[in-house]
């Protein structure tokens, strides 16, 4: 750990406004195709739970595409598709409530970490997450042979009784950082993308360094269309949603 500066009072504590890693999602471009959902699940060894369980609110995907409705037929409109994953809050409400430090803040990556093997399953973090993005392993879900051949060795396979959530594919971030370090340079913009951004056919999900003002994601996050989910709660989320019609200036 890189010698964290420990603040004395809450008011003093302020992580860099923008954080280190961030995401910008253009809701005008998102077509709701669920490629991100599938990609995330494949990358992160997310189990499938079956019809009954998934219908009972136990689907395990780390990422969901939301949509609501406005109006009534024929003036009915679907609200723009909105992929919602862990917002990697700078002041994450989930973190302080865990009694055993199973969800903590990474000082280096400025991400919200879930430590599976420390988790005892109180599920308080999930209750306190205003974005409802945490999923709990209610059971050891069956993955019959030979499906486990596909397990990504970079990602822990979680057992029952632990909480999990989107990690921004931290395994990929680490790989890119290691690579960059071995070449004596910084990670360049576009070098690393989590599975969802990588798969997104519409290029609606953009990922990158927030502390680099020149990166695509930084620019998009500062765009006039950018909003943060439940901004008013002061959680300092790292995912910016671009609302309204795209204007193409940063594509």
């Amino acid at each position: 750990m890189a010698n964290p500066k420990i603040p004395e009072f809450k008011a003093d504590w302020k992580e860099g406004e923008e954080g280190r890693w961030g995401m910008a999602i253009d809701m005008d471009l998102c077509t709701g195709c669920q490629a991100c959902v599938a990609a995330c699940s494949m990358e992160n060894n997310v189990p499938f739970v079956g019809e009954e369980m998934s219908g009972y609110g136990r689907q395990m995907a780390w990422l969901r595409v939301e949509r609501l409705w406005e109006g009534e037929y024929p003036e009915v409109k679907m609200t723009p598709f909105q992929p919602v994953m862990c917002q990697q809050c700078g002041s994450a409400p989930c973190e302080p409530v865990c009694p055993v430090f199973a969800t903590v803040h990474s000082q280096v990556e400025q991400l919200n970490l879930q430590v599976y093997n420390r988790c005892v399953g109180t599920r308080y973090c999930a209750n306190n997450c205003p974005y409802v993005v945490r999923v709990f392993n209610w059971a050891d879900y069956d993955r019959p042979e030979p499906l486990p051949n596909q397990f990504n060795p970079d990602v822990t396979v979680r057992r029952r009784g632990v909480m999990e959530k989107c990690t921004f594919c931290i395994q990929r971030i680490h790989k890119a950082e290691d690579q960059a370090k071995s070449e004596g340079r910084e990670v360049v913009d576009g070098e690393v993308a989590p599975a969802c951004a990588q798969a997104c056919p519409a290029d609606a999900i953009v990922f990158g360094r927030m502390d680099d003002p020149e990166s695509r994601v930084s620019k998009l996050s500062k765009d006039g269309r950018a909003v943060h989910l439940l901004e008013e709660l002061g959680t300092n989320p790292r995912v910016a949603y671009l609302k309204g019609g795209s204007n193409g200036n940063l594509g």
């Binding site: 499938f48 679907m78 499906l147 596909q150």
Partner: protein, 726 residues
């Protein structure tokens, strides 16, 4: 991890990988062209913690998207998009992502099986299997091949084989081909642009797109490529956001992304198209050309239910646009008047003067391997083929890459005809419905274990062929169908052996792609075949750097030809139009993949089952609620399906997604949901495509309930469970 892989197994697997593969990046462990090197330097895929990536082609649909499969120590871990492949440029859809769930599926066919039409399956060996195939090849006149839309190399091989031995040419079929009504579009193209080609719609550069039910963000032709096109259109050149208007009876995922969704009545699209043409021409030029002169705007408004003002508004939009484009979707053409509608829409494009211009309509580029456009068989062609089966003229039927028992409308009677065929040999990787009715299942490798290539029909302006190579060693005792046929041809001798003098599949593919060695304008150039072959595997195919879209001929005469369009006459009786659309997540062959089953439908968020979308007002009239089971009855079949009160569907239309309702196809697909193709009739349009969107059905309440698994909260999204008053 539940996988109990012992160290011994692991070493076996690792050494198998090592012994059978090339060191060159891009050649898979199953390569039979091994450059052996001493183990002073271990092959990279044997390093602990090191991944090896193989470029290949996605086989979940026929679009030809490039994949890069990440493997480690002989296992495939993740399918990712191949960023070089011009079709998908590194992107994938959900089905492509889940392709590994097909390969590592617990229910695959694991070895060649002999069975009495699904009963008493017993293992057999490949030598026996090859002799049986060889025997069939000795009787070419009684032999028929039914093939899927992918892979192309096998289709080419079978075509060559059939030509050589004098068997009828192989027939290709795929449910997506039917849902896209590709033949109709081709026929209309012949009529309007004088060439029966697949067309390319340049959505990316258009600024106003009116789509007549083309679900190009979901399954239509090449969804990943068109999604990219959509994305570019929205970000338009110079920051000008393109506009999308969708006309279709239910709000699809594509319509959800449109700026305006107009719920036009099914079968009225042609009328709307000509009306738009007339209004547009009058606004723009003062008078309408011959093609649109006779259009009755009031009739169009009345038949479609789209108010007159809206039509005028659309015409305004078209008139204002610099790059207007109209697209005909599959369901729009799958009407009894579908061909006329297609012609009307293409003629409207001609009127908009966009063919061959940015943001307009193009011919797809000529393919480097074959410039002939091989489309899927139409319903008429399939009916003819089924008639042949029924007559007993086919003694041996080979089936590969398609599941006609499931994918063909039941009304065509394929299953019954299958009983009249002497011997059915299926090359299915998966125990699907057709394979269950076969005498032999001689399983092909899964797509990610296979060699091959796919000609890219559309999706990119670049002429290209997408290459496939194994990313892992075959997991089971399967064998490449091409190898089986080659071995059988050798065994059969004679013309077959002479026509296919190849040692194996790879040699055949190399022979085919050798025409590209030294070809100009390619993404890479290679002087000789080994170098070309290495690069072909490394990049996952070959393509030209520059776009080579075909420009349709000048269109003055197209708009001067009279268009005769009337409202479609629906087939069958009943109060409701049936609207069947391929599930964007499952499509025709995704139901066996558990994660696809669990991926929520984009519009309804339903998982793991089928549903029928009914407008809430209609549902109230019928007295049905969410999760009630209703029977849907057409003249050709009945299905029982659960109600989803869908707020954005015409009150006179009900919609059922296609993709579920398997009676075989593995544990995740079996006995789950319904197959709406069982309701389809037999009416075809002028091009021979099934008029599946012109059906009328009756709906009856059953009193049963079967809750749907949804991701959304009914409470939060629809307020169900909370009374109105505060």
């Amino acid at each position: 991890m539940t996988n109990k892989l012992s160290r011994r197994d692991f070493l076996k697997l690792a050494s198998l990988g090592a012994a059978t593969s090339a060191v060159l990046t891009g050649c898979g462990p199953a390569s039979r062209y091994v450059t052996r090197e001493p183990y002073t330097k271990m092959p990279e895929y044997n390093y602990n913690g090191q991944s090896t990536y193989f470029a290949t082609t996605c086989r979940e649909c026929a679009a030809g998207c490039g994949l890069v499969v990440r493997t480690m120590q002989g296992r495939a871990l993740k399918a990712e998009g191949n960023k070089h492949n011009p079709v998908n440029l590194g992107k994938t859809c959900a089905r492509g992502q889940a392709t590994l769930h097909g390969m590592y599926n617990p229910d695959r066919v694991q070895s060649p099986l002999k069975q009495a039409r699904g009963n008493n399956p017993t293992d057999t060996d490949w030598d026996t299997a090859i002799s049986i195939v060889a025997e069939a090849l000795n009787n070419p006149a009684d032999t028929a091949f039914l093939m899927g839309l992918a892979p192309d190399h096998l289709f080419d091989l079978v075509t060559d084989l059939c030509k050589a031995i004098g068997a009828p040419a192989p027939i290709r079929y795929g449910a997506l081909g039917m849902f896209e009504a590709r033949a109709t579009l081709g026929e209309a193209s012949r009529a309007v642009f004088a060439r029966p080609d697949m067309l390319f719609f340049d959505i990316a550069n258009a600024d106003t797109v009116i789509s007549f039910g083309a679900n190009f963000l979901e399954t239509w032709v090449s969804p990943v490529a068109y999604t990219r096109g959509y994305s570019q259109m929205r970000r338009g050149p110079g920051g000008k956001r393109g506009r999308l208007i969708q006309i279709e009876p239910r709000l699809s995922q594509t319509a959800a992304k449109a700026d305006e969704w107009l719920p036009g009545a099914p079968g009225s699209e042609g009328l709307v198209a000509v009306a738009l043409g007339k209004l547009y021409a009058e606004k723009k030029f003062g008078s309408a050309p011959t093609a649109f002169e006779a259009a009755d705007i009031n009739l169009a408004a009345e038949a479609s239910g789209i108010p007159l003002e809206k039509l005028e508004h659309l015409a305004d939009l078209l008139a204002e646009a610099e790059h207007p484009l109209v697209i005909p979707g599959g369901a729009t053409l799958a009407q009894e008047n579908g061909l006329e509608t297609a012609k009307a829409i293409l003629t409207l494009n001609a009127l908009l003067d966009n063919p061959g211009k940015p943001g307009g309509v193009y011919f797809t580029p000529a393919n480097p391997l074959s410039n002939k456009y091989q489309r899927a068989a139409t319903a008429n062609e399939m009916a003819e083929f089924i008639g042949k089966m029924n007559s007993g003229a086919i003694k041996t039927l080979f089936v590969h890459g398609v599941n006609p028992v499931f994918e063909l409308p039941k009304s065509l009677g394929f299953e019954a005809a299958l009983a009249k065929v002497g011997q059915v040999i299926s090359f299915a990787t998966f125990p699907d419905e057709t394979a269950m009715l076969a005498d032999y299942i001689l399983p092909d490798h899964h797509g990610l274990e296979s060699w091959g290539y796919q000609r890219v029909v559309t999706g990119t302006g670049q002429s290209m062929v997408s290459g496939a190579q194994p990313s892992v060693a075959p997991f089971y005792n399967t064998r490449a169908t091409a190898d089986v046929l080659l071995a059988a041809a050798t065994k059969a001798g004679g013309k077959a052996a002479a026509a296919l003098p190849f040692k194996d599949e790879v040699e055949f593919i190399q022979d085919k792609v050798s025409v590209l060695v030294g070809a100009e304008g390619g993404f890479y150039n290679a002087a000789d075949l080994p170098a070309f072959w290495a690069l072909f595997q490394q990049f996952g195919g070959w393509w030209k750097n520059d776009s080579s879209l075909g420009v349709p001929p000048q269109t003055a005469n197209a708009i001067s030809k009279e268009l005769k369009v009337s409202a479609a006459k629906p087939e069958g009786e009943g109060e409701f139009h049936l609207f069947v659309y391929p599930s964007p997540i499952l499509a025709e062959a995704g139901a066996n993949k558990p994660w696809l089953q669990e991926t929520p439908d984009p519009t309804t968020t339903v998982m793991w089952n089928s549903w029928i979308e009914i407008n809430p007002v209609t549902a109230e009239e019928l007295g049905v609620e969410d999760d009630d089971v209703v029977t849907v009855e057409s003249a050709f079949g009945v299905v029982e399906v659960t109600v989803y009160k869908y707020p954005a569907i015409r009150p006179d239309v009900v919609a059922i997604p296609f993709g579920q309702g398997h009676t075989a196809y593995g544990r995740y697909a079996e006995n789950r949901g319904v197959n709406p193709a069982n309701l389809f009739g037999t009416t075809t349009n002028g091009a021979g495509d099934l008029a599946f969107a012109g059906m009328k059905v009756k709906i009856q309440k059953t009193g049963k309930k079967r809750p749907l698994s949804r991701l959304e909260s009914k409470l939060g999204v629809y307020g169900i469970g909370m009374s109105e008053e505060h």
